[in-house]
């Protein structure tokens, strides 16, 4: 049965499309995002404490490579098939090489309600996957010129809200362990899905505002917004399988690969590649790929992971 948090997304989307007056205050959207990011980090951090860091290093490196790879694949498709300007192609590629924390949370909820276990250190991989594509996007747009102020770009990227909260949560969870965190569990863990529901309600409203742009920029963006996550999920599934992840872990990695950023990357691109039109990347990531992943993508990636594991076994 469909998860109620998805229904909240649909409620928001329909209200938005019907031009309802429903609106979530920006401060609440911000708060809800902060709690989600911290909760995801904390959850991952608890598990980190249980395993030797060395054993995670290969996965972390593989995921960084994945981020580079996906952005590098997306770029020529956008530039030559989609005929986008160089800056636009680079910026959209960066969005699709990076990740969406909201999509991750929906995948976690999906697995949770089916009681499918997954490697709990996934938030660490989420952080790892956030950054590489941003760097690729900037280099693709500007080249490796001396003038690029890498210092301030690094600052922008590594000290953005989502990385600070995810990493901070990971470290706090790692330092405190499960008993240490038990006192803050009611807010960060028990309320998680309720807060996710509010978040998705707002995501629905935001998604609905992208329809205008999509109508203007036509079918290629729509096709890319569905085709790219399917391709990325394939790659992610393959990598998950190669890294020996469980079925649940493979679903998560495929979802991460398939998801497109709409928080960290837009902010970074706006400052570092200002000549890219932010409307295009947001319309694709938010108007197409987010709803696609949330509504039909994740079940597909689940089927894919099951199939891959069955195939591998025999």
């Amino acid at each position: 049965m469909i998860d109620p948090v998805i229904l909240f997304f649909l409620l928001g989307a329909i209200a938005g499309l019907l031009r309802s007056e429903l609106r979530l205050p920006a401060a609440i959207y911000e708060f809800v995002s902060i709690v989600l990011l911290l909760a995801i980090g904390l959850k991952g951090g608890i598990e980190l404490a249980k395993q030797p860091f060395g054993s995670l290093l290969p996965q972390m490196l593989a995921v960084v490579a994945l981020g580079f790879f996906l952005a590098l694949v997306a770029f020529p498709v956008l530039r030559y098939l989609g005929r986008f300007k160089r800056a636009d192609a680079a910026s959209i590629a960066a969005h699709y090489g990076s990740v969406s924390v909201g999509t991750y949370a929906v995948a976690v909820a999906y697995l949770g309600s089916r009681q499918i276990a997954f490697e709990e250190h996934m938030p660490l991989l989420l952080v790892m996957l956030e950054v590489p594509a941003i760097l690729v996007g900037i280099v693709l747009a500007r080249g490796l010129s001396r003038e690029t102020r890498w210092g301030s770009i690094a600052h922008e990227v590594f000290l953005g809200k989502s990385i600070v909260l995810l990493l901070g949560g990971l470290l706090i969870g790692w330092a405190s362990g499960p008993e240490g965190l038990s006192s803050i569990e009611p807010l960060f863990f028990d309320l998680f899905k309720g807060i996710l529901a509010i978040f998705l309600l707002e995501m629905g409203l935001l998604t609905a505002t992208q329809v205008g742009t999509l109508r203007r920029y036509g079918p290629f963006l729509v096709a890319f917004g569905i085709g790219m996550p399917l391709f990325s999920a394939l790659v992610g599934t393959g990598l998950g399988w190669a890294l020996g992840l469980s079925i649940g872990g493979t679903v998560i990695l495929a979802t991460l690969a398939a998801s497109a950023s709409y928080i960290a990357v837009p902010a970074a691109m706006r400052i570092s590649v200002p000549e890219a039109n932010p409307t295009l990347s947001l319309a694709a990531a938010l108007g197409i790929t987010f709803p696609f992943n949330v509504l039909v993508g994740i079940p597909i990636y689940h089927a894919l992971a099951v199939w891959a594991h069955a195939f591998a076994k025999g």
Binding site: R23, L24, A26, Y29, E202, L205, L206, T209, G212, Y262, I263, P266, A267, R270, I271, P274, E275, P278, T279, L282
Partner: protein, 100 residues
């Protein structure tokens, strides 16, 4: 008596530019600035402040004519092409003109 007329320069633009613009203003020797959160619409479409990416800010700077012209020129060169932005200037009378 000192001349008490100064320029009030107002910029409305994307919230993402706030940090950058504040640094710019400092370098262009503005002595202060005031920012309010805003939403709006223009050639770049409706910006309804539903979230960060669609939020505007409204920056005001009270300064002398040269500084106003310097800021206008700088902003026009660096940001007009790529950002949702308008800029306008008017005359205001100030108290303590040495402040601006």
């Amino acid at each position: 008596m000192q001349n008490r007329t100064r320029k009030l320069l107002t910029i409305v633009t994307e919230a993402a530019l706030e940090g950058t613009l504040v640094r710019d203003l400092d370098q262009l020797t503005a002595h202060g600035y005031t920012i309010t959160d805003a939403r709006g619409g223009g050639t770049h479409g409706v910006r309804d402040a539903g979230w960060d990416a669609s939020s505007n800010i409204r920056i005001e700077v009270v300064c002398d004519t040269e500084t106003a012209e310097a800021i206008a020129a700088y902003v026009q060169e660096h940001y007009f092409d790529n950002y949702a932005m308008i800029l306008f200037v008017s005359d205001v009378d100030v108290l303590r003109p040495e402040k601006f």
